[in-house]
């Protein structure tokens, strides 16, 4: 590990749990919110657990601000209680027998402040997170959004040097989630240390994180800014999350032969060899007859295999060479009788196809990038 930030969090470690192995190498600078995005079972929570000292690592090391917290080779290990972390757990884990004030005062007290000073610290953080009116309540009497704020206040009251958030919004209903998310973003901006944020919600990741790491099967498959990852997904999982069609193929100038069948004409940037091609579902036009005299360079037949109503549009699931997702308006579905089984023509412009090399930084060669599959799982 050489890249950057000896004053931040540096993880270069492996955690083995039965047959599952998590192997990651990452850094998070002070003030940075590093989002960990990935499907269930990717190892996101295991990573947080290792950083917090709840799960010892099997190989490598974890250091914060240049100080080793866990080193499997030398055997160095700092117990959880000795690590300056603030952990917001997925279901918050607020102590049910304590009031909000007692929960928030717990960490200052445990870290050595006297009773008065701990209560003063708790009052300060409760005021910052608008919890003063709830000070006397028990966790069972809180709404989801309130409990989330208490969990954050409790973690921050211990004045951690590192903040760990495990799906902080997943326990909330959709209605309160947006408000809490906006507020959380403000508090994360105020936090001076590095912050790891685990999520499987792409919106949450895009809104809250400065930098994203995508974990799949215990490996980092992609890292970059949220915008980079949203525009050029490296794997099928990310493509699905951000709602893109993703194809793997071999480029030869403006021609890309897709490994799943079919081919594309793309804007020629002189690319050769293995590439990924991403295209937005809204950039694929659907017509019921073979289009004539079009400027679009790619036209292929397909069959409608399914329709999904999204908020304001209908997403068509299309079988063809290659298969695709395409977005159309509900009116178009009615006017063109776009029913399952219907034969249609798909068109897309070469300039709407994003072509890029796979295997961005730290993508292991054994992670396969599949063309967009149509499993409705």
């Amino acid at each position: 590990m050489t890249h950057g930030g000896s004053d931040g969090l540096v993880v270069d470690a492996e955690v083995r749990r039965g047959s599952f192995t998590l192997a990651v190498s990452l850094t998070a600078a002070p003030g940075q919110v590093l989002g960990l995005l990935g499907p269930n079972g990717a190892g996101k929570s295991t990573l947080l657990s290792a950083v917090a000292g709840l799960t010892p690592i099997s190989a490598g090391r974890i250091a914060l601000a240049g100080q080793v917290m866990d080193d499997a080779d030398s055997g160095t290990f700092v117990e959880s209680a000795g690590r300056p972390v603030g952990f917001v757990f997925q279901n918050y884990r607020l102590f049910p027998h304590m009031t909000v004030a007692e929960n928030v005062a717990f960490s200052p007290r445990a870290r050595g402040l006297g009773r008065q000073a701990a209560q003063a610290a708790a009052r300060h953080w409760m005021a910052r997170l608008r919890l003063t009116d709830l000070a006397g309540r028990k966790p069972a009497q809180l709404s989801g959004g309130q409990a989330q704020r208490v969990a954050l206040a409790r973690a921050l009251a211990g004045q951690p040097a590192l903040l760990l958030l495990d799906e902080p919004l997943s326990a909330l209903d959709a209605g309160t989630r947006l408000d809490v998310q906006a507020e959380l973003k403000l508090h994360l901006a105020d936090f001076a240390g590095p912050c790891l944020l685990v999520t499987h919600d792409p919106i949450e990741a895009l809104v809250l994180a400065d930098q994203l790491i995508v974990l799949e099967g215990g490996r980092i498959v992609q890292e970059g800014t949220p915008a980079q990852i949203a525009r050029r997904p490296a794997t099928d999982y990310v493509a699905k999350l951000v709602g893109l069609n993703l194809y793997q193929g071999r480029a030869d100038g403006s021609q890309v032969v897709l490994s799943g069948g079919g081919s594309f004409v793309v804007a020629d940037h002189g690319q050769h060899g293995d590439v990924l091609v991403a295209v937005r579902p809204s950039a694929i036009l659907v017509s019921t007859e073979s289009p004539q005299h079009s400027s679009a360079r790619n036209t292929w037949p397909a069959k409608i295999s399914g329709l999904t109503l999204l908020a304001d549009r209908v997403r068509l699931d299309l079988e063809g060479q290659p298969p695709a997702l395409a977005d159309v308006t509900p009116a178009a579905v009615a006017e063109l009788s776009l029913d399952p089984g219907r034969q249609v023509w798909l068109t897309t412009k070469a300039t709407d196809l994003e072509v890029y090399a796979p295997g961005r930084r730290q993508v292991p060669s054994d992670v396969r990038t599949l063309p967009y599959s149509h499993d409705r799982t």
Partner: protein, 286 residues
């Protein structure tokens, strides 16, 4: 071939009940009802006998006999002391059994729960052989400290602790096992050292089971007879606890025996009421 059976009558009320709660007729088939009623009679009749024969007119007089009062006082403080000792040493053992693993742990758990099924008199004999004046531990206590345990109030407390502590241990161990350890992890990430976690998170979370286990332990200690009479004897004012006093009073002062029994019955009912949430809901025992 199946054929349609003769219909019976179903009232509107019964129809509504079955529709709401679903399922089978509410009446009990006779082959189940009769034995069930016999069982109820068997359990309830003796208590009725006790209530019928109680010297209601002079209950106070029967209880104020000096032996009875002494026995009551002795029973109360020894049972309470035994419960206190069980809390101090039994809860840590429950934690060790629930939260650690080491070779021989299953054997240890079996040994700890043995007094639950062991005839108490055997426990008394064992205590006597260990702590008696010639026992291997008793000899040391006797020669080093001049301490003789058998047939003293200390022996009463020891016998009661031996028999009753397992009730507390298994209750608390079960609670610790099923407690969500996520809270303890959370406490650790908040900087709490292990004993802080124990006092401020673990114990409060199992407090209901701790209370239930302590009440159960106390009730068992209060009713202890076999181990106590074997190890501590029955010296009035010294080692004669309520159950032992009842047993002896039955011969020469039946009214006092019945009055004392009523007191124990009332205590038992009080214990049952205090444990109702924990035990009487059906299903989960601690």
């Amino acid at each position: 071939m199946a054929s349609l059976a003769a219909p019976s009558r179903l009232t509107q009320r019964e129809r509504a009940r079955r529709a709401a709660r679903g399922g089978a007729p509410r009446s009990v088939p006779p082959p189940l009802l009769v034995p069930a009623l016999i069982a109820v009679a068997f359990l309830v009749l003796p208590l009725i006998g006790l209530l019928i024969r109680a010297p209601w007119g002079h209950l106070g007089a029967a209880l104020s006999g000096s032996d009875a009062t002494q026995a009551l006082v002795l029973s109360l403080w020894t049972a309470t002391t035994a419960t206190g000792i069980s809390l101090v040493i039994g809860v840590p053992l429950a934690w060790v059994l629930a939260r650690t693993s080491f070779p021989g742990q299953r054997l240890l758990r079996a040994l700890v729960t043995l007094p639950l099924v062991l005839p108490p008199v055997v426990g008394g004999v064992a205590l006597l052989l260990a702590f008696g004046r010639t026992g291997f531990a008793g000899r040391v206590l006797d020669s080093w400290f001049g301490l003789t345990i058998p047939f003293t109030p200390i022996a009463v407390v020891m016998a009661e602790t031996f028999v009753a502590m397992p009730f507390l241990i298994i209750t608390v161990e079960g609670a610790l096992r099923s407690a969500d350890q996520g809270f303890e992890e959370a406490a650790a990430t908040l900087g709490a050292k292990r004993m802080t976690v124990f006092w401020r998170v673990t114990l409060p979370l199992v407090a209901p089971s701790l209370g239930a286990g302590a009440v159960l332990c106390w009730a068992r200690a209060l009713g202890e007879f076999g181990a106590t009479i074997t190890f501590a004897g029955s010296f009035p004012g010294q080692t004669e606890t309520m159950p032992i006093a009842v047993y002896y009073a039955l011969e020469n002062d039946p009214d006092a025996a019945i009055a004392l029994s009523l007191v124990l019955l009332v205590v038992s009912i009080a214990v049952l009421v205090s444990l109702r949430d924990h035990w009487l809901r059906g299903g989960s025992v601690a």
